[in-house]
């Protein structure tokens, strides 16, 4: 394992739920993501509850170098923009699902009282401007190979208190990066979009005929799509192809 790994090779992942599970026009959500318009993005009730209780503020959440079928319909890979470095107050990263801590999806032993959870998350969160160093260090400490992390194997050491057995799923040890919506701007950009040809076609058809976006902005999105698209097999979730992609990166470690 080399700590000289570049951030683009440890991309952040942001996927959307299966497109037809989304309660609004899924294309409108994809459009917002492509435009990086997150400030006004709605927050789910459970997420808002966790953010308030844990003192996180309103954030956008990413998987760090990992993917998930739950958010695997259309998947966006992000890379940092070297010319727009993070400030430490822009967000944080943690080696577990922070919302899962609040909502009991991440099991600890002994169980954390509600009042203890905020400090637990704060203690184990790292400032966003140090996420890469911390993440690489975590991989070195906890796995023989990066591929083991990608394969959702639990860490050797991990975080004291979190149980690493069948009581927890991968949310207990998958890294999460969270960025305050108010801070979101140009610090990261889209490197790839993984989606099927059908999804892409449906999106572009919607963009051309239905979107209220002005023509120049829509044109920019079409250009972006042509640059970043990786097409996935028709009957396969995009997250499957993303997992293969990440595994190829890990194989070079």
């Amino acid at each position: 394992m080399s700590v000289a790994i570049a951030a683009p090779d440890r991309p952040w992942i942001f996927g959307i739920r299966p497109r037809n599970v989304i309660g609004a026009e899924w294309q409108a959500i994809v459009q917002s993501i492509l435009q990086r318009v997150f400030r006004t993005a709605p927050t789910g009730a459970r997420t808002a509850e966790a953010e308030a209780a844990l003192g996180l503020g309103s954030c956008i959440y990413f998987y760090v170098f990992q993917t998930s079928a739950r958010f695997g319909s259309v998947v966006f890979l992000w890379r940092e923009n070297p010319s727009r470095p993070w400030s430490s107050g822009d967000g944080a990263a943690a080696p577990f699902d922070t919302g899962g801590i609040w909502h009991d999806r991440v099991v600890t032993d002994p169980p954390l009282a509600k009042a203890e959870r905020k400090s637990f998350v704060q203690t184990h969160s790292r400032p966003i401007d140090r996420w890469l160093t911390e993440f690489v260090s975590w991989i070195d400490t906890n796995y023989d190979e990066t591929a083991d992390y990608l394969a959702n194997r639990p860490p050797r050491v991990g975080v004291p208190g979190i149980v690493y057995d069948s009581r927890n799923a991968d949310g207990g040890w998958t890294w999460e990066a969270r960025v305050r919506k108010a801070s979101w701007n140009e610090q990261i950009s889209i490197r790839h979009v993984f989606w099927s040809r059908e999804d892409r076609t449906d999106f572009e058809t919607w963009l051309i005929h239905r979107s209220t976006l002005d023509a120049k902005a829509a044109e920019d999105l079409i250009d972006l799509i042509q640059t970043v698209t990786i097409e996935t097999p028709r009957h396969e979730q995009a997250s499957v192809e993303v997992a293969r992609y990440l595994m190829r990166i890990a194989a070079n470690d």
């Binding site: 299966p18 497109r19 037809n20 599970v21 989304i22 309660g23 609004a24 026009e25 899924w26 459970r46 079928a69 739950r70 999806r105 949310g171 040809r197 059908e198 076609t201 449906d202 572009e204 058809t205 963009l207 051309i208 005929h209 023509a215 829509a218 044109e219 079409i222 250009d223 042509q226 009957h235």
Partner: protein, 298 residues
């Protein structure tokens, strides 16, 4: 073990939830199990993974719904290779507007149900798209930029056929004839960008198309639904059809090389349906159920 098919329709309160619910259309009960399978994908088919369906128990479904009275003359026999399709109030109306006939057995409150042979979804999509295209061309050929033409174009754009160019050319033709300059310019500009070609070429193609259809109005007969089969109207922005069917094992290949499924009972022959029930589910309750299911999964 029971031979009861349980069909689930929606009560029309779908606005804003169409896409969400479409993804979870009840598809089939399998092996006679007393559960409802809810597909996760629009284009779900039986050969996709089990992970792409959710199961709603009959108890849960009945809590969220209301059983409807089906006005069967004689209870039907569902045989291998058939789908059971339930459609909502506006579906038949919308198809009729496109010249496609639809005959179903009446269920209360405007729903209808019918049995039909099963074919692959993409074959259906192609046929529906073809029908809508004929309808559109006929209208435009007669110089009629009317609601039917717009409806047909909407169907073409939503049916999910990966054939963008003919849709673009027709949309341009419609905007051109309707004098919708802003829309015309937008579609021309973005369409050319999407196809990565010169907008002048696309515009020329539109003129060629208009000349062609105006010189030779469509005379090709419309596919009739009786011949076409629509096992899933899931791409339509109308009330939803559900298509429960039984699946037993093996896949065979039908004419044209596309897969068909044979449905074999444990006795090696088709299901004998002793009872066919249709239940209307309140969409809000179903949405709540889906949300709770997802939370439990996470």
């Amino acid at each position: 073990m029971t031979d009861v098919f349980r069909l689930w329709g929606f009560d029309g309160e779908l606005k804003g939830n169409e896409e969400r619910l479409q993804a979870r259309l009840p598809m089939f009960t399998r092996n006679g199990l007393d559960q409802v399978f809810l597909a996760r994908k629009l284009d779900w088919s039986p050969d996709l993974p089990e992970s792409d369906v959710l199961r709603m128990t009959v108890h849960e479904a009945e809590e969220a719904g209301e059983r409807l009275e089906v006005r069967w003359g004689t209870p039907p026999q569902v045989v291998p290779g058939q789908y059971v399709v339930v459609t909502g109030r506006t579906f038949g109306h919308r198809l009729r507007r496109l010249g496609i006939t639809w005959h179903g057995t009446g269920v209360q409150d405007g729903f209808s149900v019918r049995l039909m042979p099963a074919v692959r979804f993409d074959i259906c999509a192609l046929l529906i798209e073809s029908s809508a295209r004929n309808q559109f061309d006929g209208a435009i050929g007669n110089g009629e930029v009317n609601a039917m033409a717009r409806e047909a174009l909407s169907v073409m754009q939503n049916v999910g056929v990966d054939n963008v160019r003919p849709q673009l050319v027709r949309a341009l033709g419609l905007h051109f004839l309707a004098g919708e300059t802003d829309q015309f310019v937008r579609v021309l500009r973005l369409g050319a960008r999407s196809l990565q070609e010169d907008s002048a070429r696309l515009k020329q193609e539109m003129h060629e198309y208009l000349q062609f259809v105006q010189a030779s109005p469509a005379v090709e007969p419309e596919p009739r639904i009786d011949d076409v089969f629509v096992p899933a109207m899931v791409k339509f922005d109308v009330e939803k059809a559900s298509l429960p069917h039984a699946k037993r094992g093996k896949i065979i290949y039908g004419p044209g090389g596309f897969k068909r499924h044979s449905y074999l009972s444990e006795k090696g022959f088709g299901f004998s349906i002793s009872n066919l029930e249709v239940t209307r589910i309140n969409s809000k309750k179903l949405t709540n159920w889906i949300v709770s299911k997802e939370q439990a999964e996470s």
